[in-house]
């Protein structure tokens, strides 16, 4: 698991690039350390950055979209610190039987945004086992870039709720803002503005 440089793990780019390659009309909700890297790969109206001091609620928000849009796949790119803040979401997703919900935990073992402090039990939490015990229908764990890249089409089309635990290397992301200085399109708008953009895209059936 993340936080241990001796263990096999993926870079953030190795996690995101295959997902961007195979992504079609899925909603992608990002949070914390993947917000900027994903925003450089994609400028879709169907991307959503839960980056405003989100206190681990990105997965809850993505679950809500999935429940409102049962015909569309919704992928949440969560972090391990965020997941730990809202572990109850695992039970909520299973209870709601969100078969179109894909929850990816990028486990880098640390709070990267705030300066690389380790999360609780860094590198020792088996998130895949937690999701399996909570009742997720499909659960994956990856620490190899090739295996992940090969599995992405199945992850995006299988029956969920689906959980993916990806052991990742810490990156170098700092605090995230919303302004014209950010390169990622979804960070160039206020959260309220972007919410309207996404609502319009979802209601038009993009």
């Amino acid at each position: 698991m993340g936080g241990d440089p001796g263990r096999p793990m993926l870079t953030v780019a190795q996690v995101l690039e295959p997902l961007a390659r195979y992504r079609t009309d899925e909603v992608v909700v990002t949070t914390m350390s993947v917000v900027r890297p994903w925003g450089l790969l994609s400028s879709s109206d169907l991307d959503f950055a839960s980056a405003d001091s989100a206190m681990g609620h990105a997965a809850d928000l993505a679950l809500g979209i999935a429940l409102a849009q049962p015909g569309r796949r919704v992928v949440c790119l969560n972090g391990d610190g965020s997941m730990l803040m809202c572990l109850g979401t695992l039970a909520t997703a299973v209870g709601a039987a969100a078969s179109n919900f894909v929850l990816v935990v990028c486990d880098n073992g640390e709070y990267e945004i705030t300066g690389h402090q380790p999360v609780a039990a860094s590198g020792r939490v088996n998130y895949a086992a937690m999701a399996e015990a909570a009742g997720f229908r499909t659960v994956y764990r990856f620490d190899d870039a090739h295996a992940w890249a090969e599995a992405v089409p199945d992850v995006l089309t299988g029956t969920g709720p689906t959980f993916v635990h990806v052991v990742t290397e810490p990156g170098q992301q700092g605090p995230i803002g919303r302004s014209g200085k950010e390169q990622a399109r979804y960070l160039q708008h206020s959260l309220a503005e972007w919410s309207e953009i996404m609502r319009a895209a979802l209601s038009s059936g993009v």
Binding site: G64, L67, A68, G95
Partner: protein
């Protein structure tokens, strides 16, 4: 009353009820669980309810959050960081634990929150802190007291949340019976 409440939610276009039950809202949750049109999403923590509801709204649904005031106090950043910052018109009903005790003790929300008051065994500080907290968080709210009709109040709440384009609350100091 629970059945009448659901009829009111249907008229107001509510598609999902998201929350955690207490003794007051339990009968409503029981009815919604069996309802063919309104879907119940039971969460594990109140802050989670607001993020799920915000996501439902993004996806085009019209959710109502139902929580107790105890849970409201833990849900602060869940409201602020999702629904409020998004400008999502999420109506939420807060069942009011402790209001009967507060009334019996002759205390109002405006009494100074001294150590003596906050630690009094005959006062439930949850009720004492509910409305000042909503005020501090910038959440429009109204109360539904013993003489008010909860169904009409709920329909009014849903309309006003949509008008304000913000999460807005109804504090229920009475039962739903």
């Amino acid at each position: 009353m629970a059945r009448r409440t659901i009829d009111g939610l249907m008229r107001a276009g509510i598609t999902h009820v998201v929350g955690i039950p207490d003794n007051t809202s339990g009968p409503l949750f029981d009815q919604i669980l069996r309802h063919p049109m309104i879907r119940l999403i039971t969460v594990t923590r109140e802050g989670e309810a607001f993020a799920v509801a915000a996501g439902l709204w993004l996806g085009g649904a019209s959710p109502l959050v139902v929580i107790q005031n105890t849970g409201l106090l833990e849900a602060g950043d869940g409201i602020r960081g999702t629904a409020q910052r998004m400008g999502a018109p999420i109506p939420f009903m807060v069942t009011g634990r402790g209001y009967a005790k507060m009334l019996k003790a002759g205390i109002t929300r405006d009494d100074p929150r001294t150590r003596e008051l906050l630690t009094r065994p005959d006062v439930d500080s949850t009720a004492l802190l509910t409305e000042p907290t909503l005020d501090a968080w910038g959440i429009p709210f109204r109360r539904c007291d013993a003489d008010d009709d909860p169904v009409l109040a709920l329909e009014d709440l849903i309309r006003s949340a949509r008008d304000a384009r913000l999460p807005s609350a109804l504090v229920l100091t009475r039962g739903l019976d």
